[in-house]
Every structure is written in structure tokens, then in C-alpha cells.
């Protein structure tokens, strides 16, 4: 029953999710997000810590005059070590009307995925709720996890948004 629902969901969303994706790595895992949500990619800079924020929110930075919160996805997804190397990058995302930066281990490339390349994700327990995974795509030996980044970033558990606004 659950399986059937999932397939239906993907069938409905398949059209929406196909397109160009930006892939990035978190530890050994590869993720992909809709490229239209990406504003820019920049190096990791010093952030200003915010008191009382969850551990995965590193703080805020000044992005040409606007204050942008930075989320460390490695901490959130418990993937890879949260160390900062010269390759550590911040992907600045435009989700809804908001600008958010996410820290990832590295950006790999931009791929075009056809609907048939995308498989529904099975139900499984992970640090990321499956509702934020649009599907899985396999390119040769690699498995890409397609993230619904907009949904993830506006989720309550990300603590990026005031609850009153939701």
C-alpha cells in the first residue's frame, strides 16, 4: 500500500523533478538538488554564531549586505566529518523568498536527469526524513539522492523559519 502511494507520488512528481541538478558530496554520499534553487556557490567564510541555534546552524554571514543563515548539512545529515577544508563550499540557495546557505564537502557537477532515471526512494530510517527525498537516481555506479531542498529548508526541524510564519 505504502509502496503504491510512493510510486504514485513519483509518477506525479516525475515531471516536476526531472531537469538539471547540481550534485554535491557530503562525506561519501552524493546528493542532487534542483539547480534553479541555487543562487551561487562560494567558499566558506567566518560566520557569526547565533545563540540558542541548533548545532547544524553555523551562524549568519554577510552576503553583499543581506544576512544569510548558514546550515551545515553534514551535521544535519550526520554525513562526513564537519571539518572545514579548502574544498568546503557553501551553496547559496534561493528557497521561496528566502536566501539560505548550506555547507557541503564539495560540489561535483551539473547533471540533466530524465524522469526514467529517477526511482522512488524506499521507506527507510535515516537522519533525513524520506519526505525530503524526491527520489534516487543512478548514474553508472553512482547513486544520487535527490533532495527536495525547498521543503527541507522550510521544514520546522530546520529551525530556520519562525513557527508563526509557517
Amino acid at each position: 500500500m505504502v509502496e503504491g502511494n510512493m510510486q504514485l507520488a513519483v509518477a506525479q512528481e516525475g515531471r516536476v523533478i526531472a531537469g538539471e541538478f547540481l550534485t554535491f558530496t557530503l562525506g561519501g554520499e552524493e546528493y542532487a538538488i534542483d539547480i534553479l534553487k541555487v543562487q551561487e556557490i562560494r567558499g566558506y567564510d567566518a560566520v557569526t554564531r547565533i545563540a540558542g541555534a541548533p548545532e547544524f546552524i553555523k551562524g549568519v554571514i554577510n552576503l553583499r549586505g543581506i544576512i544569510v543563515p548558514i546550515v551545515d548539512l553534514r551535521v544535519k545529515f550526520k554525513a562526513g566529518s564537519a571539518e572545514f577544508t579548502p574544498f568546503t563550499v557553501v551553496i547559496i540557495l534561493n528557497v521561496g523568498a528566502r536566501v539560505v546557505g548550506v555547507v557541503v564537502d564539495g560540489v561535483s557537477d551539473v547533471l540533466t536527469l530524465a524522469p526514467e532515471q529517477i526511482r522512488p526512494a524506499p521507506e527507510f530510517a535515516s537522519a533525513i526524513g524520506t519526505e525530503y527525498i524526491l527520489g534516487l537516481a543512478s548514474i553508472a555506479e553512482r547513486m544520487l539522492i535527490l533532495l527536495d531542498i525547498q521543503r527541507l529548508m522550510s521544514a520546522n526541524e530546520m529551525a530556520l523559519v519562525d513557527e508563526a510564519i509557517l
Binding site: 557569526t48 541555534a53 551562524g59 549568519v60 554577510n62 549586505g65 544576512i67 544569510v68 528566502r98 530556520l160
Partner: protein
């Protein structure tokens, strides 16, 4: 008129709204029994302007309604009929209908044609049935303002229905200016209209009137007779740009404003009672009658006005100031005339049509943003240069100091563009109070003060809804019914005071009523009913805060005005989203006062930067009383924890900002750092920081735009080195200290 007019529609809508607004303000202010004729004229002009432009733009529904309104107002202003309360009501209602129509034309909502028809009938009925007053004066409308006779010719695009309407309006306009002696429609084969006009306006004015409707190229203006050609009446009036014919010298000479009138003057004014120069407003130039006993020399500058016949003028001579209040009041700029300058100038203020331009607010905002960036850059340069040797780089330092001052000046002047007087908000409340008090059967007087207090345009727009709500609340719940008031030994009429003023970088708006006040016990009972945690010994202040809880209402009955409990929480939320605070004082039986405090602007703040465990925070300077290094003797422990600071005998709670912001690293002893004494709403607290860094003017950036509200933080800013620093919210910190809590609680 063949080109596309739609590009001007926005301007038309905006202007019409302004006219409606000023008309409404005047209608509300007018004393029905003793209307000031200047006000009546202004009301008429507002209606007339809307009518004129709406028919030009082809909004016939607007034009039709304003036409009826104008007819009524014209009768009133000419003293043909007496102003009644009913007319004021009808005109106000018509204003509402017009607003609805304008909205509909702009694509918001549907036009309410039934209402428009109804109000039109109502206005027309008033105009027809009203008792005629001062019939003699009506005849005054007429003869003597034709210093010159013009032959006008102009053409309009043929066969255009709108053009025909335009011509009709134009003729109406010309009748305003003078007497149309002859108006000949285009004959076969030609397109030209021929109009013979007797008027004392200058040709330029005529041309501008004609150009508005006719094809500019076709306009011809021929002056058939000059200023002296006034054979029509015994009274002469003087055109403004033209030299007046020599008149018998009088004791008091008057001078025209741009051009001296040769030998000028009030002819044979042996007893000049008063002279006045109208500048922008049309005034009556009654000049001097031949018998020489008069009086009131006025020069119409831009628009002539009907004159009164000699018979009436004799009366006018005795009571010149009363009869011609508009002329007297306008006589402000004629400095060469001491008689004129001694007249009160007050009424002129606020009406001065000084040079202003309409600028899209986005452009202004863009400018403000750029200046904000400039301030940051300037701070960055200052900081970088601070490391350089002040002797070797003296000139650089001087230049930077200059740059700093100029940047600040620039910033201030740019910010002031956005500043509007709060009267733009207050002006709507007399209407609200008037309508509501009659609906509720209460007598309420609204007293406003501090209307000239300026605040940011953005705030003006956002504050108006919460304020309206507060006023409605005061009216509905605050002020009691006349019977109840009488029983309580108060005057029957309630009073709402609306006050605005500046206080230490904030704008404070108070809404105070002398009504029944909040009932503490009822609020507590209601709160218990709703399961809120309350106790009988709560401080009054805390009890009042309960009414800001969502869904909280103690109203006995739900009226359509208020009482559904939707409201105060929304008001509070709106105001805090503007960075403001709301406070409430109340005394049972005496009244309630709601105080709203708002930051002056949304963008700039004077702040003190402090270091807390290596992190930089900004404390708004307005809240800082003093800073001091505590000695062990000043620190007082309560139950083993140092929680109080003894400042000259005053015990202040200590807010350890390290704890509040959960900074990494070891805690330091209080003696090793600095205590910053903060004061908010009369409550003081000592904030513990490691060291003070300096004072800056910072540009406030929203943290909530991309993130969310953080306890104890009101926003963020960008420091000279490009880093983000968080701005503390002292008010919140102080109230947290009172509860001895942790910001995360």
C-alpha cells in the same frame, strides 16, 4: 487628445485620492453653523478638480457624481443655501462612494453603482430643496470682473465624443474665470470654436486652460480690450501682470507681487480698512467703489473671483475682515504692506504648494540602501586607516574624518526623504470617531496633538491599521455610554487623546481615553476561564498584558465594532514586527492609555559595540545609561549566586550576556569585565560584557528576512570588516532579567 491617456491614469487616481482626502478633512473640520468660506471654497475646488480630471480621462461615473456634488457645493460656497449637517454627511458618503469607484477603476473590487446613484439623488435633492439663504448675495455672482475681453479660438479633434465632453468642461472652466459673452460651435467646414470671454485673467492662464482640452496648435487668444476697458461696471479690478491704470493716490499704497503696479492702488481709499493679497487661492477683488469709502483692496493673482456689487461692498467696508476672511488670511507674503502682514498667517501654513516632485518610493529605497552600503564602506575604510600612523598619514586621516561627516549628513538627508508627518495617519481618525460614535450612540471628542511628528513612510503605512484598531477599541470598550458617564459623575461626552512625540530616538504614540478603564478582576476571571496561568497578586502591568493574548475579549457583548477578541493580539504582533513595543496603563473608572513606541526609522541605529567572549554585539545606545567596572563590593549575592549589582545604592539585576548567549569558553568573574547599565521602560539592569569596543552608527539588517527571531536579539548589522554583528534587544533582555530567566526559556 488622440494619444493614449492611460499612462496618466495612475497619477489621476492618486491625485483624486488626495483631493478626496483633503475634502474629507475639510468637511470634518467645518463648523456647520459658521462655515469659513475659505474652507467651503477648498471643498468645492476638490470636488471640481476631481470632476474635471475624471471627465478628461473618461471616467464618466466619477464625473457625474462629482458634478452633482459640485453643484451643491457651489450653491453653498456662494451662500445661496446654508450648509447643513446633512450636507456634510452626504458629501462624506459621496467621498466614500468616489473612493470605491476609483478603487474599481484601478481594478480593486467592483464599483457600487447603486450606491453611486443613491448618493447622487441624495445630493441633488439637497441642492434643490435646501432653503435659499442670502438671495441678495447670490446676485453678487456676476458682473464686474471683466477687465479685459478676449476672443478665443481653438479646435478639438472632430467627432470625438470625449472631446465634446471636454469642450463642455472647458466652457465651464471659462465661466469660472470670467463671463463667456459668446460661444460659437464650429461652423460647417471648420473645426474652430470661437468664444468671447470677459475676464481679468492673463492670457497665459487662458492658454493653459485651453491647451488642456484643445489641440495646442489651434489655440488663438486675442485680447480685444485692455484693463481699462471695463465699461461693464463701476468697479475696477486689476489684472496682475498688467500695469493698472493710474489711480488716485491713497494713503496706503499696495504693491503687486511680481510687478509693481504703477502709482498703484486702491483707488480713492480714504479709509483703507484692510488690504490683502491673495496668492494662490482665488479671492474676491472688490476694489474700491467710486464713492471712495472703501476698503478692501485685494488683487486676484491667479484666479479671479466674483465681486460684490457696490451695495454690498458698503457693508463690506465696515466689516472687511469678517466678510473677506479668506483674503485677509492669505495676506501673508505682501511684506511691503504692513496692514497685510499683521493678519494671521497661520492658515497659510500647510497649504503652500511648494515645489515638490513625485518620486517612486522604490527609487528612494534604492538610494537609502546605497547610502547604507556607503556607510558600511566608509566604516571599513576608517577601520583600515585606524591602523596607520596618525602623524605620517595625517592628511588621509583628515580626509577620512571629513568623509565620515559627509556620509552621515548624506545619510540623514536621504533618510529624511522618507519622513512623513504622522498627521497623514491621524487625519483619518476624526472620520472614524465621527462615524463610530454616532453608530454607538456615544459622544466622543477626539483630540490630537503632535501631528507634525515625523516618522518613516514605511511606518506610517504600517501603523495606521493598529492605531485604527486601538481607537475603535477605545470608542467601543473604553468610553462609556452617556448615561453611564453621567452616573459616574463624568461629563457626557468622552474624550480620546491621540498624541505623538519623539522620545530618545523613538516615536511614541499614545491613545488615551477617559472611559471606564480595564477591569482587573474581569480580566483575571476571563483568563482563568481560558486556562491561562494567572494569580490574584499579579502586577497590574502583567494583568493588562493578558488582553494581548489571542482570542481574549472581556466585552459583554460582541458588537460589529469590536469584541470578538480578534484584535489586540494582532495589534501587538503588528507593532512588534515593526520593532515597536506596546504598553498599557489603566485605572478603573478613570481611563486607559495605550502607548506605542516605535523606532524612528527602520534602518539606522546608534550603537555601542561590545565584546562578549570574542564575539561582537551591538547595544543600541538609547538604552545605555552608563558603563562601569564593578568592584567586588558592588556585587551582591542572592542565595549564593552573584545576581545583583549595587550602583550607588540601587540594586540592579545582572544579566550575564555570556550566559544569555551561551558563549563558548570559560566564564569570567564579573570583576574582570564591564557592566553596561541598561534602562528600558523605567526598569534598569546591568549587562555584563567583557569589554567595550566603540560607538558606531549601524545599518540595521533584518535577521528574520532569511532566518528567524532570536531571543534577546533585535537584528543584525554589518561591521566595518564585513562581518555580521548581532544587535541586542535591551528591552527584551531587561524583561528577561526581571524574570531572572534565560533567553532560551
Amino acid at each position: 487628445m488622440s494619444f493614449d491617456m492611460s499612462q496618466f491614469h495612475e497619477v489621476f487616481f492618486e491625485e483624486s485620492r488626495e483631493h478626496l482626502e483633503s475634502m474629507e478633512a475639510l468637511l470634518l473640520g467645518v463648523d456647520v453653523l459658521h462655515p469659513v468660506s475659505e474652507d467651503l471654497h477648498a471643498i468645492f475646488r476638490a470636488a471640481h478638480s476631481i470632476k474635471g480630471s475624471s471627465s478628461t480621462f473618461g471616467f464618466t461615473d466619477l464625473a457625474e457624481l462629482t458634478h452633482v456634488m459640485e453643484t451643491l457645493l457651489d450653491l453653498v460656497r456662494n451662500n445661496a443655501i446654508a450648509l447643513t449637517e446633512e450636507m456634510v454627511d452626504a458629501c462624506l458618503a459621496a467621498g466614500d462612494v468616489l473612493r470605491n469607484l476609483i478603487d474599481a477603476h484601478q481594478g480593486h473590487g467592483d464599483p457600487d453603482h447603486t450606491a453611486a446613484d443613491a448618493i447622487r439623488v441624495r445630493l441633488a435633492g439637497l441642492a434643490d430643496n435646501a432653503p435659499r439663504a442670502g438671495g441678495a448675495e447670490l446676485t453678487a455672482h456676476g458682473d464686474s470682473r471683466r477687465a479685459r475681453v478676449y476672443q478665443l479660438g481653438f479646435a478639438v479633434s472632430a467627432g470625438d465624443a470625449r472631446a465634446e465632453q471636454g469642450v463642455e468642461n472647458l466652457l465651464g472652466e471659462l465661466r469660472e474665470l470670467g463671463d463667456v459673452l459668446e460661444a460659437r460651435a464650429p461652423q460647417d467646414g471648420e473645426r474652430e470654436w470661437r468664444v468671447k470671454l470677459a475676464s481679468d485673467v492673463d492670457p497665459e492662464t487662458l492658454r493653459s486652460v485651453l491647451d488642456f482640452v484643445a489641440d495646442s496648435a489651434s489655440v488663438t487668444i486675442e485680447q480685444l480690450s485692455g484693463a481699462a476697458a471695463s465699461q461693464v461696471s463701476s468697479v475696477e479690478s486689476y489684472g496682475f501682470f498688467d500695469a493698472a491704470p493710474g489711480a488716485p493716490a491713497s494713503e496706503e499704497s499696495a504693491y503687486g507681487f511680481f510687478d509693481p503696479l504703477p502709482d498703484a492702488a486702491v483707488p480713492a481709499a480714504s479709509e483703507p480698512a484692510d488690504e490683502a493679497y491673495g496668492f494662490f487661492e482665488p479671492i474676491t477683488p472688490p476694489a474700491a467703489p467710486e464713492n471712495g469709502s472703501a476698503a478692501d483692496g485685494s488683487y486676484g493673482f491667479f484666479e479671479p473671483m466674483p465681486e460684490r456689487p457696490v451695495s454690498e461692498l458698503l457693508t463690506a467696508a465696515q466689516t472687511a475682515v469678517r466678510v473677506e476672511p479668506e483674503a485677509a488670511a492669505l495676506a501673508t507674503l505682501a511684506t511691503s504692506n504692513p496692514a497685510a502682514t499683521r493678519e494671521p498667517a497661520a492658515r497659510q501654513s500647510g497649504k503652500g504648494d511648494s515645489g515638490s516632485i513625485r518620486v517612486n518610493i522604490e527609487r528612494v529605497d534604492q538610494m537609502i540602501n546605497l547610502v547604507g552600503e556607503l556607510v558600511i564602506t566608509q566604516a571599513m575604510i576608517s577601520q583600515a586607516a585606524g591602523a596607520l600612523d596618525p602623524v605620517l598619514f595625517e592628511r588621509l586621516h583628515n580626509g577620512i574624518a571629513l568623509l565620515e561627516r559627509n556620509t552621515r549628513d548624506l545619510q540623514e538627508s536621504v533618510m529624511s526623504i522618507r519622513m512623513l508627518p504622522i498627521s497623514t495617519v491621524f487625519n483619518r481618525f476624526p472620520r472614524v470617531v465621527r462615524d463610530l460614535s454616532s453608530k454607538l450612540g456615544k459622544k466622543v471628542e477626539l483630540v490630537t496633538s503632535g501631528e507634525h511628528t515625523e516618522l518613516d513612510k514605511g511606518l506610517v503605512e504600517l501603523i495606521s491599521d493598529p492605531l485604527t484598531h486601538l481607537i475603535r477599541n477605545s470608542l467601543d470598550h473604553g468610553i462609556e455610554s452617556p448615561e453611564r458617564r453621567r452616573e459616574a459623575g463624568k461629563s457626557e461626552g468622552g474624550r480620546i487623546n491621540l498624541r505623538a512625540y519623539h522620545q530618545s530616538g523613538n516615536i511614541v504614540i499614545e491613545v488615551a481615553d477617559d472611559g471606564g478603564g480595564l477591569n482587573r478582576n474581569r480580566i483575571l476571571a476571563k483568563a482563568r476561564e481560558r486556562g491561562l496561568p494567572v494569580s490574584d497578586n499579579m502586577a497590574d502591568q502583567d494583568v493588562w498584558q493578558l488582553i494581548f493574548e489571542p482570542g481574549f475579549s472581556t466585552a459583554d457583548q460582541v458588537t460589529d465594532v469590536s469584541g470578538r477578541g480578534v484584535g489586540m493580539d494582532v495589534v501587538k504582533r503588528n507593532i512588534s514586527s515593526l520593532g515597536g513595543r506596546i504598553e498599557l496603563d489603566s485605572m478603573l473608572g478613570v481611563g486607559t492609555r495605550v502607548t506605542v513606541r516605535l523606532p524612528l526609522t527602520l534602518a539606522i541605529l546608534d550603537g555601542m559595540s561590545v565584546d562578549i567572549a570574542g564575539e561582537t554585539y551591538i547595544i543600541p545606545l538609547d538604552y545605555v545609561v552608563e558603563s562601569l567596572q564593578p568592584t567586588p563590593a558592588m556585587l551582591k549575592a542572592v542565595s549564593g549566586v552573584e545576581r545583583l549589582l549595587d550602583v550607588r545604592g540601587e540594586y540592579l539585576p545582572i544579566i550575564d550576556l555570556h550566559e544569555a548567549f551561551d558563549t563558548p569558553g570559560e566564564r569570567r568573574g564579573f570583576e574582570s569585565g564591564i557592566m553596561v547599565i541598561l534602562e528600558s521602560d523605567g526598569t534598569k539592569a546591568a549587562a555584563f560584557v567583557d569589554s567595550l569596543i566603540g560607538q558606531h552608527q549601524v545599518v540595521i539588517k533584518s535577521l528574520e528576512a532569511n532566518y528567524r527571531r532570536v531571543a534577546g536579539i533585535s537584528g543584525a548589522t554589518i561591521m566595518g570588516d564585513g562581518h555580521v554583528a548581532l544587535i541586542l534587544d535591551p528591552q527584551q533582555l531587561v524583561s528577561m532579567a526581571r524574570r531572572a530567566g534565560h533567553p532560551a526559556d
